[in-house]
Symmetry: D2
Subunit: 339 residues, 4 copies
């Protein structure tokens, strides 16, 4: 932590700060410059996070030196984390994992038909929402537990792992009975009650980046889960909100290599939400693989005209199968595989 | 709803859309222009929200005509809603209501001392957090129920109503025993489980705008609460996230007159979070009153150096009292009062 | 300037940096912390701006301590600057200056009629565009020199000073013959050729903030003008681009008190562009005055239906006159006057 | 153009609008819905762009149906445009073009050394700034004409085409004598005087997207150039400004496939500015190629420690050569080549 004093700071004010930080167990290193005096604080920075040095008389600004996350950082763990979903599926290794399925589970048969197609094309994880967070109270809110049952049934029949969103801390136990991966949606990235609950389970968590979350905040939300004991966190970039309205969100491609530098956790990309337009999903999926992601999560629907949610960003099975073929080539170009 | 077709749309595709919407009980009005054909859909627009017409062959774009919210709109209710907190306090009338207090409840005595000061200066509602949503799992998370007890005790002693944040749907009943107003924080604006829970109570809800929520999304979140039966919603503008980093958030002053045009609900402004710098709170508070807000919520701490949360944006009691005097003049200039 | 080293930085790398900065005439103060070593650099920070210390081996991040602007800063000049437009009009003193007129000059008579109205209501500066920067090449681009002539003629007839936009460095001399104030539009805030040209004149410059300019960048653009010798710069907040689409821009009300803290230059607000909706201009104008601005610039048109530019954000003269009356009260509430 | 009336619109107001648009040569198609009346306007939409129908009594909103650009659109020209730089280099065909070089031209020898390296690795166009737009008036502003001479000399010696930025309409003729491609920087994307000047030349223009320009605005700026007669425009995505501060900009990967859908012009990507961190350039370059770009423009410097501009985002020649090898594989995976 570095404290920059304003030009009028008095010697008394400097001493007041030095005393304060000494009491907190830190050592102060004072540099008197020509235009500003700067105090470097040496010792565990954490104790300072709850002390608002900015309001001390004479202080102009306070600059943290360390990243606020620990367990998720590369400094904490040098090698890539590999999250094991089941005996066959691992995320974070050389194979790029494909998760696919409808936005929302609408019926048993509908889900089954889509699942057959995505399995055939090479997906290994079935995605589908049973609890749907919707902007409007008047839109389809999901089938709830019924949807969870269909997911489990279809997943077992076709030997697909199952990922589904949990939106309420009271549902964690229920969802846990049916799903292999908890999905935390963008709107809940800072729902700390929910993070604490999934952090106390032993199941992998796919943590989507909030629509306006910085990378630092996203990693801090992952830190919540790890700090509760669950290290099986998969980060998911799904686009951020910007001024651009031609696409639903702006997929932050920079985030992929950057998060791989900052953290040991695997990174998955959601080009369906990241673009909001099915016609862009193929190009952006290839980009994500080329940039180094560890997996993709893509919405597929066999009849987008009748989809109850997000039809405009869903691929039809034929396009999905073509995409898998294209991705295989890109994956190989960067030393990975898709299947 | 208006459907714009692409230039290559065939007659067959047009008929397919007309049939589809007829089945949904709507009438289609077709305008064949020189460069585009446009279909206007007449009838209840709601049935179309779940039908993704964008993916129908031949469609270029779909444009909604109506706002998606109903109960919160000025069309639904012409006159201003006045939310009654108790027998003495009403929000939405000529008197501008001041809510003040510490960011977090830290101790009984600390809270009491601050409450005495804000009451003396003219605040009628005491604010303070017992459950604190914090970006980091390592920061102070609030006193929980103990904090709620202090709030109730101090509020009763000083005849102040009490507003406090609820962050978990499982806490709604608990918080309800101690507080007069549920505060929904920015991070939880789209925590629909939580909105549904407070929507089923009879207590007023202060709904903060999400850090990257559009005004439409904010009103839709209010719609969730009203649609469950609770019409006592107070909207709170608290700054949005933009590219500017010199301030913690960018307070959206435009939102005040705009929301008053679009909705009948009262609007309160939080300049403490909206700026993140105590030195800007005074100027921006005056601006909010001049722009037509119905209340303010301001962080006050008698010892910001020791505050466990948000010390940098808290006013000391002396500055708060001066601000109340300044605000009184601005309020009168726009035909309102503060006390 | 503070240099934070990464945990693996070697002693050799530290020495390499120390040598480099010594050659630049700076002194290095090394703090060896438990997790990071930090080097404080003492001496004139400017020489470091062109040396990318970030790329030196062992460096994790480089943090500037000083603001990059000098002449525009409060540190450079404690008291408020007052910009003199002519013998009668000064911006930055107790009187809040009103600039008003049409977006674009469309005809001599049209301009005259509007000017009569705004003068009657209390404006002292006539605004109007002769060179219009338009997003589309197919839209009205302004009357050019003819428009400048009308401005000068009408201004002289009614004893109003004249402000108009200059968009091309080749026009500075021409515009200078007709106008009292150069207006630099948001799109040209970083048109450094243009800034350098107006910086070499003796006429006041109204510098609009760029649509996505940080406050720091805005002040740096002002610094360009001052550094060329022209200290008569008026800053103009006109709204920034955010994710919100309900308004054309988001007026940054925080910027008003913040810029008054950081700089001695006067600050004017443009609520017409800041909102893009005439129905919000009144509320936001009052807010700007309450927040401490030194002037307002407002679009007025007597027949918005026929306006060739920005009709949707223009006030009609009657509304403008009412606004002036409202503003007078708010101005008095904060110790200022409008007329 | 579609006009949505508000619920209180009278028959008289509707007739007023119908008459107005009839005078403009358009036909009005009126749909009377249950909640809103909607008027579809049939005929050339352009005449409406200068008529602010939003301010007509009874109007709630006006919705354009057509994109405002014409010459740049896929509708205007179905097949991809191929921009010919010289007899050997074409942008927009199967070969992906690499432009590389230092941010700023610093000296003849320095430029030559870098140029030798990028040529060896496979670049065919040398980039380098002679006129540098800098945020601060105190930073290195480029060598001016001297820099242009070095560029031409080095380019001819090594058989590299040359791209360099032009920042002032008065310099277009000068730059034209030395460079093969005009580069219009992000800050000048809406410098319409400059666009008009380069639009009147016969040289290819690389048009960078503004830091906060929507895709629509970017295409409109290209439209300026085409409308003046110069169809040799290359679009360049270089990152947009968002709330994220971990990277200098957010490269908008979605824009690549989207612009290829909307326009026939070639698209080049600048990962150096798009990320601002050399450690991310490789990953993001591969992503851009996978997403379908037609070229890349990358900053390379043989001694970033001494670079006078943007050292932190420059690759050293060795990393650049490695990147070219990696890109070759990705290009082949998507059916393209790099060399």
């Amino acid at each position: 932590m570095i404290v920059v004093l304003n030009p009028q700071a008095t010697e008394e004010q400097i001493q007041h700060i030095v005393e304060k930080v000494s009491k907190l167990g830190l050592r102060a290193n004072i540099s008197r410059g020509t235009e500003r005096t700067v105090i470097g604080l040496i010792g565990p920075e954490d104790v300072l996070r709850v002390t608002p040095l900015e309001v001390f008389p004479g202080v102009e600004q306070v600059i943290p030196v360390l990243a606020p996350y620990k367990l998720v950082s590369r400094e904490f763990k040098k090698e890539n984390s590999i999250v094991k979903i089941n005996n066959k599926i691992k995320i974070g290794g050389p194979k790029i994992i494909m998760m696919a399925g409808p936005c929302a589970v609408e019926s048993r048969d509908g889900l089954y038909n889509i699942a057959v197609e995505v399995k055939k094309a090479g997906a290994t994880i079935l995605r589908g929402g049973a609890f749907k967070p919707r902007t409007s109270p008047y839109e389809f809110q999901g089938l709830g537990e019924e949807g969870l049952k269909y997911l489990k049934e279809v997943g077992e029949k076709l030997d697909l792992a199952v990922a589904t969103e949990v939106v309420d801390p009271r549902h964690v136990e229920l969802v846990s009975k049916y799903a292999d991966i908890f999905q935390i949606g963008a709107r809940n990235m800072q729902n700390f009650s929910l993070l604490n609950e999934v952090g106390q389970t032993k199941k992998p968590v796919l943590l989507k980046r909030g629509i306006s979350a910085t990378i630092k905040e996203w990693l801090m939300s992952a830190e919540y889960i790890l700090s509760k004991g669950n290290f099986d966190v998969i980060l998911c970039e799904r686009g951020i909100r910007t001024f651009e309205t031609a696409t639903r969100n702006t997929l932050d491609i920079n985030a992929i290599p950057l998060v791989k530098q900052l953290s040991h956790l695997p990174v998955v990309v959601d080009p369906s939400h990241g673009t909001g337009r099915w016609g862009l999903v193929s190009g952006v999926s290839k980009a994500a693989v080329a940039a180094g992601c560890d997996g993709l999560i893509i919405e597929v629907h066999d009849n987008p005209e009748e989809a109850l949610s997000d039809g405009t960003q869903s691929l039809i099975p034929e396009n999905f199968a073509n995409l898998m073929n294209d991705l295989e080539k890109v994956a190989q170009a960067v030393g990975r595989t898709m299947r």
